[in-house]
């Protein structure tokens, strides 16, 4: 609720700064939205809490698709759903473009040898690099998962497995074949790439 309040307040703030946009039509002003985003996702790309994902430097189309899914209710999140509810397609595209153009923040999440071994087996079994590519940075609709926040990764992987997050059924099907300890190891491994 508090974030929603921030959004409402921020909605009255209009800055003149032009923001590059993907939109095919007029460039929307998203400056107030950016302020709101920063409250959780960080002023410099480092999120305020460990369960919030890094979105600076994330792939543009992935960010847009997730915003689209939050808006459509395909991805349920009590914070994001109301924030996105009133965004236009052009605003979502502009936000996606903006964040994709920011640098991924420096991270130093610790690795764990035992987790790494378990995770590498899990990655082989799931052929993760087929989509996320060799550097695990993905492309287009496939998210970067390397160096992502480990708590967020574990949370979202388990939510996908347990069909809490429902907007990526191929992931739900795949993760449902793994025990939780392998998925937790995967989160540790990916965050420390």
């Amino acid at each position: 609720m508090s974030r929603l309040s921030v959004f409402k307040v921020a909605g009255f703030i209009t800055l003149a700064t032009a923001v590059p946009t993907l939109a095919q039509t007029a460039t929307p002003d998203i400056s107030d939205k950016l302020q709101l985003c920063a409250t959780c996702h960080g002023e410099a790309g480092t999120p305020a809490k460990p369960e919030i994902p890094i979105i600076w430097g994330q792939n543009e189309y992935y960010i847009y698709v997730e915003l689209r899914d939050f808006k459509a209710g395909r991805r349920a999140n009590e914070t994001m759903n109301p924030i996105v509810a009133d965004l236009s397609k052009e605003e979502m595209q502009a936000l996606a473009k903006h964040f994709s153009e920011q640098p991924w923040p420096a991270t130093s999440f610790p690795s764990d040898d035992a987790a790494d071994r378990k995770a590498q087996d899990a990655m082989t079994a799931g052929a993760c690099t087929s989509c996320h590519l060799g550097d695990l940075h993905g492309k287009s609709a496939i998210p970067r998962i390397a160096d992502q926040q480990p708590v967020y990764l574990e949370k979202t992987i388990l939510e996908l497995k347990n069909n809490v997050r429902q907007n990526a059924p191929a992931k739900t099907a795949l993760f449902s074949t793994y025990p939780d300890d392998e998925l937790k190891a995967l989160a540790v491994y990916l965050s420390s790439r």
């Binding site: 993907l22 189309y61 996606a96 060799g134 287009s140 609709a141 099907a173 074949t177």
Partner: protein
């Protein structure tokens, strides 16, 4: 930055080099004296490519797609001396599946993410580079692949991951025209090399994992205007409720449940998949094309798509001029294992059922069989012995996972075969990668990956590959050589009695085409998972291949084009 890290010293006299700034920021023009200074590829050259020992004009060698190269300077008696002439490194270190195309001493290669390089085929020196301005929306499965270009007249044609067809000036790399093929947001993308024939540029589509409706389209080579479209999924995709596969085995379909689902949900044709992402063969005499169609969507969940799912997992023939249907043959009706038809068809004469020689067609399946057809009506003449283990076929996928061999990465993947018409042998590279098949039914997720479940590699089971020679007139395996990893990429046979193919561990090998003996190998430093080609310039024959690894099987990535020749 791209660079050439090795060269055959002293081959070229220094030529005046003028560096010109290209009009497009994405293309650089380099003007110099070129071998023959001939860029144009005529239809006559394309027609005669089977006997052309100088050029390599088609992704699969010629319109019959035999990948049999007629030059014999490099042969079984001297291949031991083969060594690198030059290595060109691109600036994209990712999966490489390109077939180098060579026109009068100029080579065209592509990389992941749709870059094109024109090289001097004698030295590897870069002539120009085109980097496609890939839009933010590009939907692709299994790697950001590109398998190369088509060449026709003075142009070079490229399909892109954001579902565009781009025509480049062969001399400069500048864009002549660009055409949107389909909407990438809906799951369409391009990885195949186009095919150029009789003023047309033919191209299919990827997207079988994204709920697309597949097609093959023909564009005007000069203008880019669309000439015809063939939808690989007809509006009535139900078929004949076929219960057995092409080899006569029961696929355990629940036909009554499917009929009930059909009554309830209607024909699923709009999101049924059926991509075509390998080149068609062209029968110039019959004026037809032949191609294979990929898997139905979603891959593992048949409950949402009742019926035979025509023309998925099928060989299809069309009239070249009109794109009208001629005939088809479906290998697996209502596939729920992703054992689709991918490896490009090969046209060659075969012995028919009555012992007479007929115009035939070969296709290698992910099932591990080579299928032999009569190409006049697409009918099946015979199928080969299985080239990889088959177990528990056709066990249906389950929630907890059902083990069946081949796995979804099994038998012959997209890798093109090669045929030696003198030995009557076809050469295929195979994968053995045990998997479990899991089904989880979910509705169409709007252009997102839609597998209807999951394939899962069984990490405790051994994986391997093989190179197999099959007598296509008997279906018997003539020879087979096991490799330490599953094989993907492609193969080339030559009149020198050789077969060339590479492996994920970086080894590029030459085999005796008659016996399978390994006669030569080279460690390339990255996975060799692309089809080799060959050419001759200044009287020297070369073998060339890309070493860039493979995304799908996670083989070591690289960025090299390596050309081999014999010492002076």
């Amino acid at each position: 930055m791209s660079r050439r890290i090795g060269s055959l010293s002293g081959v070229i006299a220094a030529a005046a080099v003028v560096l010109a700034v290209a009009g497009s920021a994405q293309a650089q023009e380099q003007v110099k004296t070129l071998y023959g200074d001939m860029y144009a590829v005529t239809q006559d050259m394309l027609n005669r490519s089977e006997g052309d020992g100088n050029n390599f004009l088609h992704t699969n060698g010629n319109y019959n797609q035999t990948r049999f190269y007629p030059a014999r300077q490099i042969n079984a008696s001297n291949v031991q001396k083969l060594r690198p002439a030059w290595i060109f490194q691109t600036d994209v270190v990712e999966t490489m599946e390109t077939t180098p195309i060579v026109v009068n001493g100029v080579m065209y290669v592509t990389t992941a993410f749709d870059h094109v390089f024109a090289l001097d085929a004698r030295t590897g020196e870069q002539l120009w580079n085109y980097k496609h301005n890939l839009g933010p929306v590009a939907t692709f499965c299994c790697g950001p692949n590109n398998r190369g270009v088509a060449v026709y007249n003075n142009m070079v044609y490229l399909g892109t991951l954001d579902a565009k067809l781009v025509a480049l000036d062969a001399k400069t790399g500048k864009v002549v025209w660009e055409q949107k093929i389909a909407d990438p947001e809906l799951g369409y993308s391009e990885t195949m090399a186009p095919t150029a024939v009789n003023g047309k540029i033919l191209i299919g589509t990827n997207g079988g994992e994204f709920g697309i409706r597949g097609f093959v389209k023909a564009y005007d080579a000069k203008t880019g205007n669309l000439l015809w479209t063939f939808n690989t999924i007809p509006e009535n995709s139900v078929g004949a409720w076929t219960t057995h596969d092409a080899t006569g085995r029961d696929m355990h379909r629940d036909i009554s449940a499917e009929k009930a689902a059909l009554q309830k949900s209607g024909d699923p044709y709009k999101t049924l998949g059926g991509g075509v992402w390998q080149n068609p063969a062209v029968d110039l005499a019959l004026n037809r094309i032949y191609f294979v169609v990929g898997n139905p969507s979603p891959d593992l969940d048949g409950a949402l798509r009742p019926g035979d799912n025509l023309y998925t997992d099928s060989l299809v023939s069309l009239d070249l001029d009109t794109g009208k249907y001629v005939c088809h043959f479906q290998y697996i009706a209502h596939d729920v294992w992703d054992l689709d038809s991918v490896s490009p068809p090969v046209l060659t004469d075969v012995v028919g059922k009555d012992g007479k020689v007929i115009p035939g067609l070969l296709h290698a399946g992910k099932t591990g069989h080579v299928y032999v057809h009569d190409r006049r009506d697409c009918s099946l003449v015979r199928f080969s012995e299985a080239m990889v283990p088959q177990e528990n076929m056709w066990t249906l996928p389950t929630k907890d996972g059902a083990r069946m061999l081949p796995g979804a990465n099994g038998g012959v993947e997209w890798s093109p075969m090669a045929v030696d018409p003198n030995l009557k042998l076809t050469y295929a590279i195979n994968l053995h990668q045990p998997m479990t098949y899991h089904v989880l039914s979910t509705p169409y997720p709007e252009g997102k990956l839609w597998l209807g479940g999951a394939f899962k590699v069984i990490p405790t089971e051994e994986q391997w590959g093989n190179v197999t020679a099959v007598d296509y007139n008997t279906g018997k395996i003539r020879w087979q050589v096991k490799t330490e990893q599953p094989m993907i990429g492609g193969i080339l046979a030559t009149a020198g009695g050789l077969v060339f193919t590479g492996e994920g561990n970086g080894l590029f090998k030459a085999y005796d085409s008659e016996t399978g003996s390994v006669l030569w190998h080279f460690q390339s430093g990255a996975g060799v998972n692309a089809p080799p080609s060959s050419y001759t310039v200044d009287g020297k024959q070369y073998i060339v291949v890309a070493a860039g690894g493979n995304t799908q099987l996670n083989y070591k990535r690289g960025n090299s084009i390596i050309a081999f020749t014999l010492p002076e």
